[in-house]
């Protein structure tokens, strides 16, 4: 049977993930962990692994805190007063404004993307993470370097800054371990490929396909007046994540660059976009496209930044634990 057969093509198109109800996800996981605990009673190694108190709640929280594998996982919130106060609400599609936003966030050919942001997460506690910064080549070989955050095992404490980078074609990521080692991580490779280096790639797509809407003027809690854009889920995202939550993007009306995003399952839609539960805020300090000069490309090259570092494999244990050993008191690399 040829793949041109429309029946086969229709059927093949059905094979895709879907997000179940949050209640179902959590209740099933709780039940599975309870059963797993029964098995752990018979296996010393597993007992040791789970010896710390409250492990079941910790795993549940870890799954809950990643609503989807995108920038949402790291974002932030500024508190109960949250994000923004809606000043006016002329719901409009205003294509002119969105077109200017689109132009501002469309990269010139061969450029190097440079982004720096601060993320705050609000759950039962509010945590502001250390700054996150990345440089990414937007043309081959697509090298990238990230001042990343290794999350704390305690969700109410900020993570630590680490440095990593790589080149997709090499099928490995490099993590800088002070004083002078680049540890090869193949575990992170798949994540690298799945991720979009540009935080506003999806906003460009939303503007192009009409799922971005200008909602009106808003005042941020730091006094800035901005324009609020609601980025609805695409059909593909809805199919994959149901329910799918919109992202609110706050745009500087003069530069047309986003300065803040608000996202997460705890946002109450409508005027104000207030956070009622789990929400994330990203405050962008820098968003720029650097010319693709050798010096700027070197910023995206972790090897160029550490020319004398030695590449080595991780020792075989948990990579996160080994990284922490090299950044014991660090707030930055």
């Amino acid at each position: 049977m040829s793949s041109d057969d429309p029946v086969i093509r229709l059927l093949a198109d059905l094979d895709r993930p879907a997000r179940p109800r949050v209640e179902f996800r959590d209740s099933l996981l709780a039940r599975l962990l309870a059963q797993l605990e029964d098995g752990m009673g018979r296996e010393p190694a597993a007992q040791a692994s789970a010896r710390s108190t409250g492990w079941r709640a910790r795993v549940l929280r870890a799954v809950r805190r990643r609503p989807r594998r995108t920038i949402l996982a790291f974002a932030a919130v500024t508190g109960a007063a949250v994000a923004a106060l809606f000043v006016s609400s002329p719901w409009t599609t205003a294509p002119g404004f969105l077109e200017q936003v689109n132009a501002a966030i469309t990269p010139p050919a061969g450029s190097v993307l440079h982004v720096k942001l601060v993320m705050t997460e609000k759950r039962s506690c509010t945590v502001t993470q250390p700054p996150f910064e990345t440089w990414a080549e937007l043309s081959p070989p697509h090298k990238y370097r990230v001042i990343d955050i290794l999350a704390s095992t305690d969700l109410c404490k900020p993570g630590i800054s680490i440095e990593r980078g790589g080149e997709p074609a090499l099928r490995k990521a490099l993590v800088f371990l002070p004083p002078n080692t680049l540890a090869i991580s193949r575990r992170m490779y798949a994540w690298e490929l799945a991720a979009d280096p540009d935080p506003f790639g999806k906003l460009r797509q939303a503007i192009a396909d009409g799922t971005a809407h200008l909602e009106g003027r808003a005042a941020l809690d730091d006094g800035r007046t901005v324009e609020r854009v609601r980025q609805d889920c695409t059909e593909e995202q809805r199919a994959q994540f149901s329910p799918c939550d919109p992202i609110y993007v706050y745009v500087d009306p003069e530069t047309f660059l986003p300065v803040r995003t608000l996202s997460g399952p705890g946002i109450r839609p409508g005027r104000g976009g207030t956070c009622t539960a789990e929400c994330y805020v990203q405050d962008f300090q820098t968003y720029e496209y650097l010319p693709g000069t050798p010096a700027n490309r070197a910023l995206a090259d972790i090897r160029a930044q550490h020319p004398n570092a030695t590449e080595a494999e991780f020792s075989g244990g948990r990579e996160a634990d080994e990284i922490r050993e090299h950044y014991p008191d660090a707030t930055g690399p």
Binding site: V7, P20, R31, F132, Y189
Partner: protein, 182 residues
């Protein structure tokens, strides 16, 4: 790569699964949407059915882990469990359902099914309307990628019989899909 969480468990390279609850949590997060989607689209888009089968699948996986099973490739492993749950579900349906009428619409061979709006939802509904035996063959061959011979081995049928099921299944699917636009 921006703001992607630095994880200790990768997507396509999940390490051997055991009783470590944190590793299981990461595995669950990775596998749940896949397994739920697997059932949802093969069971008429019914969320209750998809939830039931997803739950059965994961409970069976933990039962295996508790018995000492340590799969080195957890994602394919749980897909295997899911496939058996799905086949059991189809078999139960086959016992109670009435076969569709044999009258087959004379379909234009050039019918352009893919260009129509709402195609995916209608395809899910159409697949659910196909008799269970034919649906099983369609799913195993065209979604799961098994050969007709492998499907025959799974269902206890000859390869020729599987080809016959596929042929009739395609016709049933087309008919149900076309009826869905009325």
């Amino acid at each position: 790569m921006l703001a992607v969480p630095l994880m200790d468990v990768a997507v396509g390279e999940v390490e051997a699964l055991g009783l470590d609850p944190e590793k299981f949590g990461a595995f669950y997060e990775e596998a749940l949407p896949r397994i739920y989607g697997y059932f949802l689209h093969r069971c008429g888009g019914s969320k209750p059915v998809a939830e039931d089968l997803t739950q059965e699948t994961f409970l069976a996986s933990v039962s295996e882990l508790n018995k000492g099973r340590r799969p080195e490739t957890p994602i394919p492993w749980i897909y295997g469990i899911a496939r058996h749950k799905l086949l059991d579900h189809y078999r139960k349906q086959a016992r109670v359902e009435q076969p569709l009428a044999d009258a087959v619409l004379a379909l234009d061979a050039s019918v352009s099914l893919l260009q129509e709006d709402g195609g995916r939802e209608r395809a899910v509904a159409a697949l659910a309307a196909v008799p269970a035996s034919q649906r099983t063959a369609l799913v195993l061959c065209y979604l799961d990628g098994f050969t007709a011979a492998e499907v025959g081995g799974e269902l206890g049928k000859s390869t020729a019989a599987v080809h016959s099921l596929l042929e009739r299944g395609r016709e049933s699917f087309k008919r149900a899909y076309r009826e869905g636009e009325r």
